[in-house]
């Protein structure tokens, strides 16, 4: 139980996927204009991450390892993740057109999102059990959502600022993201790796 | 009893000593009276006199145009020289009856003073309407409309607003001190009309002498005397109701929704005159004060007297840089001293250049003082920010329309940002958009 909690805290704060591992930066920068969208994206990523880590874990230990097909890991995982994301996209589109509209082109981005693939690979590398990998996935997704929402809040405030012309747009957003990552560095060592 | 106080609020300096304790005087008639036909909220009155016609004091010069409208009367006897657009306190030139006083000051027809008890409620309301009584605290809303709530609304409490929280102004105080009996009678009339069981006089604790004067009267008549801790804007209707009764008026509602009727002291005095003597509202108490005025005082001024005449009468130290009608917190600066005193004018303040804040607006440092000062619990800095960038949806979500424009936020803002102006703009734009859609 304690180890699960540590995995969770570690994934949310210490080794935050976005701010410490720098994975999934594309949606982080792309879908964080508004807090609501960021939250929606976080939810979508959470769903994809948890389901993907379950599927890839099963795939790894039921198919790839028994048949000595470990070298197929990357391609097999990508296949599974891509399918999942496609399905999420269809479901979101049907059930919540507003969310779909605001997520825009970024939903398909999860397909090739390194955060999801990285998570699946890390699960295997760290020899996590099935439950552990689920907790890790949930923690990572939570950390991702947290980073997204914090950053979206900051960006909403940035739109009110008279930023000097040369820093307007992406430069100031990257500086802000950098400062946010700096703040997260304080968590270093909080949980033994 | 610990009274609840409204949230927020500020403590602007009072500046009331110059005019608070001197008896009011009668202002001499000017050479020309300009009586605007729009002196109230609602449709302007329709002129019923023409140039060259002689009118008596109190004679009708403008007929009410609809239910939410009141008639306008001649403030003195004299010759109508024109009915034309003239500078109006709102800033534009609006139709007004221009009157040249003949000095005789002859009344049209004097009513016999009679007790209001013999009159029916309808008759009293009719007299109030005929006399053109409007809210004299500044809003100028027709009183007969306020006294005639729609079916289903029950008024159980009447509050006399004697708070006068604006700096410099002491007109209501003088009315209360000099016409105590009139105000108390008026309160009885109000109770009679509205059927309210409870009556209060709301007063701030910076006027202990008035409280002492009123205490025996109130005790005799069963009127509650609510002496409230001094805080701006105590005189705002919603804030006063909360401070006196603990009831919160719904943001989109009116005081009648919580069974309360609030009337300003001056209004009540005018209403008594209207009901008991049938006298129209042609004169009111006005505080003439401010750093640029030599002899600050309270004057009983005929409606339509140009501000320039008042300033001349009281003397100005130098050419004033700013002339304000009303108080310094919510009053409006005038572009010309030719504007007349209207029914809602509680004060005329003149400032020299050196009395005005000179600092320019800086960036908001997010100190949160405006949030703490807002008596409506809003976040002025955000609303103003949204307004400046025309994000009306966001401004509305932050309840921009609840703003009562009391000025507490701008008053306190260390960066001197004109928050109220931005919010006022947002309110107007939101309403305009609503009307369009």
């Amino acid at each position: 139980m304690k180890s699960l909690l540590l995995i969770m805290v570690g994934a949310v704060f210490v080794n935050n996927f976005v701010l410490a591992r720098f994975l999934g930066l594309c949606p982080f920068l792309g879908v964080s204009k508004k807090v609501e969208t960021a939250l929606g994206m976080g939810m979508a990523v959470t769903f994809v991450m948890v389901v993907a880590s379950a599927c890839t874990w099963l795939l790894q230990y039921l198919v790839l390892t028994p048949f000595n097909l470990d070298y197929l890991q990357t391609i097999a995982f990508i296949l599974v993740i891509a399918t999942l994301v496609q399905m999420v996209e269809m479901i979101v589109r049907k059930s919540s057109p507003v969310l779909y509209q605001s997520l825009g082109i970024f939903l398909p981005l999860i397909t090739t999102n390194c955060a999801v693939l990285g998570l699946a690979v890390l699960n295997i590398q760290r020899n996590y059990s099935f439950v552990q990998s689920l907790v890790f996935a949930f923690g990572a997704a939570l950390g991702f959502t947290l980073a997204m929402v914090l950053y979206a809040g900051l960006r909403e405030r940035l739109t009110l600022c008279p930023v000097p012309r040369i820093f307007r747009g992406t430069p100031i957003e990257l500086i802000t993201a950098g400062l946010l990552a700096l703040a997260f560095m304080g968590f270093a060592g909080l949980v033994p790796n | 009893m610990i009274q609840p106080s409204f949230p927020g609020g500020t403590h602007p300096p009072g500046h009331k000593t110059a005019t608070a304790d001197a008896r009011s005087e009668i202002c001499p008639l000017p050479a020309e009276l300009v009586i605007p036909l729009a002196q109230h909220v609602g449709a302007p009155a329709l002129p019923c006199v023409t140039a060259g016609q002689w009118v008596a004091r109190g004679q009708l010069v403008g007929r009410a145009n609809g239910f939410v409208s009141v008639p306008v009367h001649a403030s003195t006897s004299g010759l109508v020289t024109a009915v034309e657009p003239r500078p109006h306190p709102c800033g534009a030139d609006l139709p007004a009856v221009v009157l040249q006083p003949d000095g005789a000051d002859t009344w049209a027809d004097e009513y016999q003073k009679q007790s209001f008890h013999v009159l029916s409620v309808e008759a009293m309301l009719e007299r109030i309407r005929e006399a053109g009584v409007v809210g004299m605290g500044g809003a100028a809303f027709p009183t007969h409309v306020k006294l005639d709530p729609p079916q289903g609304k029950v008024i159980d409490t009447v509050i006399v607003n004697a708070v006068e929280c604006e700096p410099w102004l002491t007109a209501d105080r003088r009315v209360l001190l000099e016409q105590t009996e009139k105000v108390l009678t008026g309160l009885e009339i109000l109770q009679e009309i509205s059927g309210a069981d409870h009556a209060y006089i709301g007063l701030e604790d910076n006027q202990p002498d008035v409280a002492r004067l009123l205490a025996p009267h109130c005790q005799k008549r069963g009127i509650g005397l609510a002496v409230l801790p001094t805080k701006y804007p105590q005189g705002a209707e919603r804030q006063l109701i909360y401070a006196v009764t603990g009831r919160r008026v719904p943001a989109r509602g009116l005081p009648m929704d919580v069974g309360v009727l609030v009337q300003n002291v001056g209004t009540i005095a005018a209403l008594t005159d209207a009901v008991t003597r049938g006298r129209p509202l042609i004169e009111r108490m006005v505080t003439i004060s401010g750093p640029a005025v030599v002899r600050p005082q309270n004057l009983r001024v005929r409606i339509g007297t140009p501000v320039a005449h008042l300033l001349e009468h009281c003397g100005v130290t130098e050419e004033p840089a700013m002339v304000i009608l009303g108080g310094p917190m919510m009053g409006s600066a005038q572009h010309t001293p030719a504007v007349p005193v209207v029914r809602g004018t509680s004060g005329v303040l003149a400032f020299r250049r050196q009395d005005l804040p000179t600092t320019t607006a800086g960036p908001c440092v997010r100190c949160g003082r405006c949030v703490n000062a807002c008596p409506m619990n809003l976040q002025p800095t955000f609303i103003a920010d949204f307004a400046r960038r025309d994000e009306l949806e966001l401004a509305e979500r932050f309840a921009a329309r609840n703003c009562i424009e009391c000025g507490s936020c701008s008053f306190i803002c260390p960066a001197n940002i004109p928050l109220v102006q931005s919010i006022r703009y947002a309110k107007g734009a939101i309403l305009a958009r609503r009307r369009r859609i």
């Binding site: 795939l59 198919v63 790839l64 048949f67 000595n68 097909l69 197929l72 391609i75 097999a76 296949l79 599974v80 891509a82 399918t83 496609q86 399905m87 269809m90 479901i91 589109r93 049907k94 059930s95 057109p97 509209q101 | 709102c90 800033g91 534009a92 409006s332 600066a333 005038q334 572009h335 010309t336 400046r388 025309d390 004109p418 102006q421 931005s422 006022r424 703009y425 107007g428 734009a429």
Partner: protein
């Protein structure tokens, strides 16, 4: 090798099966025309069409609740393409451009009061109807400049709004923003305009400003086919009249309020705007 093929093959098959089922179950139909329209519209999200953004306008177009000629920045080209996609016939409307109809700077126009407050025309207009005596004159606080999505407006050295005619797309946003309707849309190919917006009588205009249209009808008498009167304000009948007679009318205007503008919005009738000022200042 075989195992890999089988493994990936079956994985692919399962994935395809799932996706196929999902596609059925959660099918959403989108009008392909809407997608096509989104590509055509200007994409500035200026809101001139009255819809919140190009996307909303595209949806309204497909739904048939909006007219196809509302995208002003896109101009005639966009209109044509929208019409092709929607399959409707439209009449072409000439491109338009915004004109600032006021020359009442501080040298020419009287102030009503000294304004202190927010640098925003609409906010200033609410204070005693604006700081300029003329109720139709440009306040020069730049609300139009702040809102122009194409950076085509500026406050010039005289303190009046100025249209950069090469940048203006005629979206008309400034026209709705200006609280005094100083800005108006005019055909883009026209360069001669009456730069005054006050319909009041000459006595009133003279008391406000000495660069305003007096309603003297000199221009109408000189070039009757090119100018008309709107109350006491002369207006150009765009597209009519000879340039030579118009030039004569320009020369005869006593307050010099008919101007021939160049691309930057400067006067090209006279050598410089400066000389206008010198001539008309008493």
């Amino acid at each position: 090798m075989m195992a890999a093929v089988i493994c990936l093959g079956s994985l692919g098959f399962v994935a395809a099966l799932l996706l196929g089922m999902a596609a059925r179950r959660f099918a959403v139909t989108v009008d392909p025309r809407q997608v096509a329209l989104m590509d055509i519209l200007a994409g500035a999200n200026c809101g001139a069409c009255g819809f919140p953004g190009c996307d909303a306008y595209a949806r309204a177009l497909v739904a048939g609740t909006a007219k196809p000629d509302l995208c002003r920045p896109g101009g005639a080209e966009t209109l044509k393409r929208i019409a092709t996609i929607l399959g409707v016939a439209v009449t072409e409307r000439p491109p338009q451009i915004a004109v600032v109809r006021c020359q009442g700077d501080l040298q020419h126009a009287r102030l009503k009061y000294a304004y202190q407050g927010l640098q925003d025309c609409r906010a200033a207009q609410k204070l005693a109807r604006g700081p300029k005596l003329c109720p139709a004159g440009c306040l020069g606080l730049g609300s139009c400049v702040q809102h122009c999505p194409f950076d085509a407006l500026a406050i010039d050295s005289r303190g009046l709004a100025m249209v950069n005619r090469s940048r203006c797309t005629g979206c008309g946003l400034c026209v709705t923003i200006c609280p005094r309707q100083v800005l108006a849309l005019a055909p883009a190919n026209e360069t001669i305009h009456v730069l005054c917006n006050n319909r009041e009588s000459s006595a009133r205009v003279k008391s406000y400003c000495n660069a305003g249209c007096l309603g003297c009808r000199l221009c109408v008498r000189t070039a009757p086919e090119s100018f008309v009167m709107d109350s006491f304000l002369a207006k150009v009948r765009y597209g009519y009249g000879e340039p030579s007679t118009m030039a004569e009318a320009i020369a005869r205007c006593p307050h010099h309020c008919i101007l021939n503008l160049d691309e930057q919005g400067n006067n090209q009738t006279l050598p410089t705007p400066h000389s206008v000022r010198e001539r008309s200042t008493p």
